[in-house]
C-alpha cells in the first residue's frame, strides 16, 4: 500500500495545489471539549468495541471507544509469541495452508456477523490478503476459531463481506489467476485468455459458525476490490467493485487507469443458489486448507479439502451484471435501506450513487450497453440515482449513520466528507491527518448504524506522534458525529496498518456469554492432567510427554531427570486454576520456538528439543502470585544412551523412579 501511495504522491501534490480544502494546521482542528468527550475514568468501561485490522501484522486488534485504549491484539494470520499462537503444538495447525505453514500474512478487513442486517456480536471475520484465507474469530473468547483457505484466488482483498444473516462470507480475488486445476505455466501476457477472477461464497453455520466454501463464481479476469451485500430489498444481491477492466498485466498504475469507467459487478446470489439446485455447477478439483480450533480439546485440526463447486458467470445468464463506475473503484457500499449503492472511484472527483430499483428495472428492460466478456453491461444512466458533485478527490470508502447521511473518505484530498443520500448535497467536511484510507461508523455498513462516532484510519502518520525513527505508529482519528458538524476529538495509534475496522456497542459483546475460564472437567485434551495426581512423565521412544500442572505457585512435576540428548520433550501444561484472569506461563531455557501462556482450565503444549547436556531451568512467565518468582523447576539433560532413569518429582529432593 505504502509504495502505491508514494508512487501516487506526485499526482497528489499536483491536485492538492489546485485544491483549497487540504489540511492546513493540525492544531486548529480540535475544540475545547474534546478531552471530556473521550475521557473514560479509571475503572470505567468504554462504550464501544472497535475491531481494527492489523494490516501487514496479520493480526486484528480490539480498541475501546471513545478512549482509544488498546484492549487486545487478537492473533489471527501471524504467529504471536506473546500468546504462543502458532508456536504451541495446539495452534500450529491454524496457520497451515495448501502451501504449508505460513507464519505471517496481511489482514485488511474485519467484518462482524449480522442477524437481520444488524450487528449481533457473535463473530468477527478477517481476511488474509496474501495467501488467501478467511478467519472467524469467536467473540466469546476473542480467539481465532476457524480459518479456511480460498482456492483459485490471489490477493484476497475483496473480503470478507457478509450477507445480512451471515448466510455467506464473500471473498473476491484481487489478482485474477489461471484456475488452480488448469495449467498455470502460461505466458503472463496471455492474461485475457487464461486468467480468471473467482468470487468465493463461504457458508456460515447459523449455530456453530462453521465455514465451508459453498461455491465460487468464475468471472472474467479483472481485479476485484471491495464489495458489500445488498440488504433489505436488495438482500440476495452482492456488489463488487472491479478495476483493471483493461486486463493489464504490467504497470497497472498506468495501464489499468486507461478507461474512464470500470465496473461495479452486481451478483444475484439467490439465483446462484437456484442454479446449484438445478445442477448447473461443476465440481472442480482444488486444494485448500480448512483449520478449526476445538475449545474442548484445546487443539486445532488442519485438513486439506480437495473439491470446490464452480458456477460460470459467462454461461449462466441472470447471474452477474456490470454497472459502469468511474475510475478504478475501491469502495462499494450499500446504504442502510438497501436501495443505494455507492461506488468510490479512487481516481475520480465525483461519487456515483446507484439505485437498486433502477438497476432491477434496467435489467428487466434489458437496458444494456453491450457485454463485457459475456456479461451484460447495464447502461450507466439506467442504474444511476445521481452523482455527488465535487465532493473531494479520490473517494475510497463510505459508511452511513441512521439519519440518511453518508460519510466518505478521500485519500487524495485527505478528508472526510458528510453528504446526504437523498439530495446528494455535501453537508460538512473535515481534514484528516493524513490521507485517510478506510473509515468506520459503528454499525455503519449494517441496516442499523449506531452512529455517534466516526473513526478515520489514516495511511500516513508523519508528525502526529513523538518520532520513533523511520517507522512510526499508525494513526487513527476519532470524530464525534452526533451533531451537524463532525468534530475531531482524539488521535490514537494502532498496530500494523489499519485498513477497515468495525465497531459495536460494548453491551452486544460483553453480555454475550464471555468466556472467563475453561472448565477443567470439560477439558478433553489428550494430554490433560486433571489434578496433580495425574501429573507424570512418560517416555515413548525418543518422545517424552510431560503431563504437567500449573497452579499458584508451582508446577507438578517441577524436577525432571532422565531426559537424553536426541529426545523430543512435549510439555503439556494444564492450568488448574478456575478463576478469571489467572493465566500461567511456561518457559524453558533454550526453547527454539516460544513460551506458553495457558488460560485457566486449558492445556497447552510446548515442544522442546534440548541441544546440550546440562541443567535447564523452567519457570512461570506470567506473574501469578506473590510467590510467582518461586514458580520454577529444573530439567536435567544427560547424554544420549545415558543410564539416568526417567523420574519426576514435586516437593522431594530424591530421585524416584518413574512408574
Amino acid at each position: 500500500m505504502r509504495s502505491r501511495i508514494i508512487m501516487s504522491m506526485s499526482f497528489v501534490c499536483l491536485l492538492a495545489m489546485l485544491y483549497s480544502c487540504k489540511p492546513k494546521n493540525a492544531g486548529t482542528a480540535v475544540s475545547g471539549d474534546a478531552a471530556a468527550k473521550t475521557y473514560v475514568a479509571p475503572g470505567k468501561y468504554d462504550e464501544f468495541y472497535n475491531f481494527v485490522s492489523g494490516g501487514f501484522s496479520g493480526q486484528m486488534s480490539a480498541y475501546g471507544l471513545p478512549s482509544g485504549r488498546l484492549l487486545r491484539v487478537i492473533p489471527v494470520f501471524s504467529v504471536d509469541p506473546e500468546k504462543g499462537w502458532g508456536y504451541s503444538e495446539e495452534t500450529k495447525p491454524m496457520l497451515m495452508t495448501s502451501h504449508g505453514f505460513v507464519p505471517w500474512d496481511d489482514l485488511h478487513h474485519p467484518e462482524m456477523s449480522q442477524t437481520n442486517g444488524e450487528v449481533d456480536g457473535r463473530w468477527v471475520f478477517g481476511n488474509a490478503n496474501n495467501t488467501p484465507r478467511v478467519a472467524r474469530i469467536d467473540l466469546t473468547t476473542f480467539r481465532t476459531a476457524e480459518i479456511i483457505e480460498l482456492p483459485n484466488s490471489g490477493g484476497n482483498h475483496s473480503s470478507p463481506f457478509i450477507t445480512e444473516n451471515t448466510e455467506y462470507v464473500v471473498a473476491g480475488t484481487r489478482f485474477s489467476v489461471p484456475a488452480d486445476n488448469s495449467n498455470g505455466d502460461v505466458p503472463i501476457n496471455s492474461y485475457k485468455e487464461n486468467f480468471k477472477g473467482h468470487l468465493s461464497f463461504i457458508s456460515v453455520d447459523k449455530t456453530s459458525g462453521a465455514m465451508d466454501v459453498a461455491f465460487q463464481i468464475q468471472c472474467p479476469g479483472v481485479n476485484f476490490d471491495l464489495s458489500h451485500a445488498g440488504k433489505g430489498k436488495s438482500h440476495g444481491w452482492f456488489f463488487f467493485s472491479c478495476y483493471n477492466t483493461e486486463q493489464a498485466n504490467s504497470l497497472l498504475e498506468v495501464n489499468a487507469s486507461q478507461k474512464d469507467k470500470d465496473f461495479i459487478m452486481a451478483v444475484n446470489w439467490k439465483k446462484a443458489e437456484e442454479y446449484i439446485k438445478a445442477g448447473k455447477a461443476r465440481k472442480v478439483p482444488a486444494r485448500y486448507a480448512h483449520n478449526v480450533y476445538d475449545e474442548k480439546t484445546h487443539t486445532a485440526k488442519h485438513e486439506i479439502r480437495k473439491e470446490v463447486l464452480i458456477l460460470d458467470a459467462k454461461e449462466l445468464k441472470d447471474l452477474c451484471y456490470m454497472i459502469p463506475c468511474p475510475k478504478s473503484p475501491h469502495g462499494c457500499d450499500v446504504d442502510p435501506t438497501g436501495e443505494y449503492i455507492v461506488g468510490s472511484g479512487k481516481l475520480a472527483a465525483l461519487i456515483p450513487v446507484f439505485s437498486f430499483d433502477k438497476l432491477q428495472k434496467a435489467i428487466a428492460d434489458k437496458s444494456f450497453d453491450g457485454e463485457y466478456d459475456g456479461i451484460p453491461v447495464v447502461k450507466y444512466e439506467s442504474a444511476l440515482y445521481g452523482e455527488v458533485k465535487k465532493p473531494g478527490l479520490g473517494p475510497l470508502h463510505t459508511e452511513f449513520d441512521a439519519n440518511g447521511n453518508a460519510y466518505t473518505s478521500f485519500f487524495v484530498s485527505s478528508e472526510i466528507v458528510k453528504w446526504n443520500i437523498k439530495d446528494l448535497k455535501v453537508l460538512d467536511r473535515v481534514p484528516t491527518y493524513y490521507s485517510v484510507g478506510h473509515l468506520c461508523v459503528p454499525g455503519g455498513d449494517s441496516k442499523k448504524p449506531f452512529g455517534k462516532y466516526l473513526i478515520a484510519y489514516n495511511k500516513i502518520t508523519k508528525d502526529r506522534y513523538l518520532p520513533t525513527g523511520p517507522e512510526l505508529a499508525q494513526s487513527a482519528q476519532l470524530f464525534d458525529i452526533s451533531g451537524d458538524k463532525m468534530q475531531l476529538i482524539l488521535d490514537f495509534p494502532t498496530i500494523g496498518e489499519p485498513h477497515y475496522a468495525q465497531a459495536a456497542p460494548a453491551a452486544l459483546i460483553n453480555n454475550n456469554n464471555q468466556v472467563k475460564i475453561f472448565k477443567i472437567d470439560e477439558n478433553a485434551h489428550p494430554y490433560v492432567a486433571k489434578g496433580e495426581g495425574e501429573s507424570k512423565v512418560v517416555r515413548d521412544g525418543n518422545k517424552v510427554h510431560v503431563y504437567m500442572t500449573a497452579v499458584r505457585s508451582h508446577f507438578s512435576p517441577d524436577n525432571i531427570e532422565g531426559i537424553r540428548m536426541g529426545d523430543e520433550v512435549y510439555f503439556h501444561v494444564t492450568n488448574l486454576e478456575q478463576d478469571w484472569d489467572v493465566p500461567h506461563g511456561f518457559g524453558v531455557k533454550g526453547a527454539n520456538n516460544a513460551e506458553l501462556l495457558i488460560m485457566p482450565g486449558e492445556t497447552t503444549t510446548l515442544k522442546w528439543s534440548p541441544d546440550r547436556v546440562g541443567m535447564f531451568p523452567m519457570y512461570c512467565t506470567d506473574f501469578c502470585s506473590a510467590l510467582h518468582q518461586e514458580m520454577q523447576g529444573y530439567v536435567r539433560v544427560s547424554p544420549a544412551g545415558s543410564k539416568v532413569p526417567l523420574s519426576f518429582t514435586l516437593g522431594g529432593n530424591s530421585t524416584q523412579p518413574a512408574k
Binding site: 505457585s553 507438578s556 478463576d579
Partner: protein, 162 residues
C-alpha cells in the same frame, strides 16, 4: 500480577470510598458502561463465624453420619481443584492442611469460603492472618453448589466422621 497490587491497594481505596460517599465521577464521557463493582464492600457487617456468601446455619444441613457417595465425589474434586495446595494432614503446603478444619470452622463458613473466597479474604480477620503466612490468595476454583457440598463431606470424612 495486577491482582496482587489490587489487593493491597483496594482496602485503602475502600476506606476512601466510604468517607467520600458514592459521588458520581463521570465528567465528560457520557454513557460509559459501568465496570463491575469493587469486590470490597463495607467490612463492618461481616460475620466472622458465618463468613460471606449464600450459606447460613439454616440452609446447610449435615447428616448425623457420613454420606459416603458424596464424600467420594468430593474426593475426586479435591484431586483436581484443591490438592495442589492443601494436604489432608495438618501440614501446610501452599495453604493450610485440611486436618481438623470441620472442627475449627462452621460448615456454612467453609462453604462460603470455598465458593466465595475473594470477599472473605478481604474481610475475615483470621483469613487475613493466614494470608500473611501463606502469601497466596486462595483462588476461586468455581465450585458449583453440589461440588462444594461434596468437598465439605470429604473434609468431614477426612476428620473422621463415619
Amino acid at each position: 500480577m495486577r491482582k496482587t497490587v489490587y489487593y493491597i491497594v483496594l482496602p485503602l481505596m475502600a476506606i476512601f470510598a466510604a468517607s467520600c460517599g458514592n459521588k458520581t465521577t463521570q465528567e465528560g464521557s457520557s454513557e460509559s458502561t459501568e465496570a463491575p463493582q469493587s469486590m470490597v464492600k463495607d467490612a463492618s457487617d461481616y460475620d466472622p463465624s458465618r463468613g460471606e456468601g449464600k450459606y447460613t446455619a439454616e440452609n446447610v444441613i449435615l447428616g448425623a453420619t457420613l454420606d459416603g457417595a458424596m464424600a467420594e465425589a468430593g474426593s475426586k474434586i479435591q484431586g483436581v481443584k484443591c490438592s495442589s495446595c492443601h494436604k489432608l494432614t495438618d501440614e501446610k503446603l501452599v495453604g493450610p492442611g485440611w486436618k481438623g478444619v470441620t472442627e475449627r470452622r462452621k460448615p456454612e463458613w467453609i462453604l462460603n469460603f470455598i465458593t466465595n473466597p475473594d470477599p472473605m479474604i478481604d474481610k475475615d480477620p483470621e483469613v487475613q492472618a493466614q494470608l500473611e503466612l501463606c502469601l497466596v490468595r486462595m483462588p476461586n476454583q468455581n465450585l458449583q453448589d453440589q461440588e462444594a457440598r461434596s468437598v465439605l463431606e470429604f473434609m468431614r470424612k477426612n476428620d473422621g466422621v463415619k
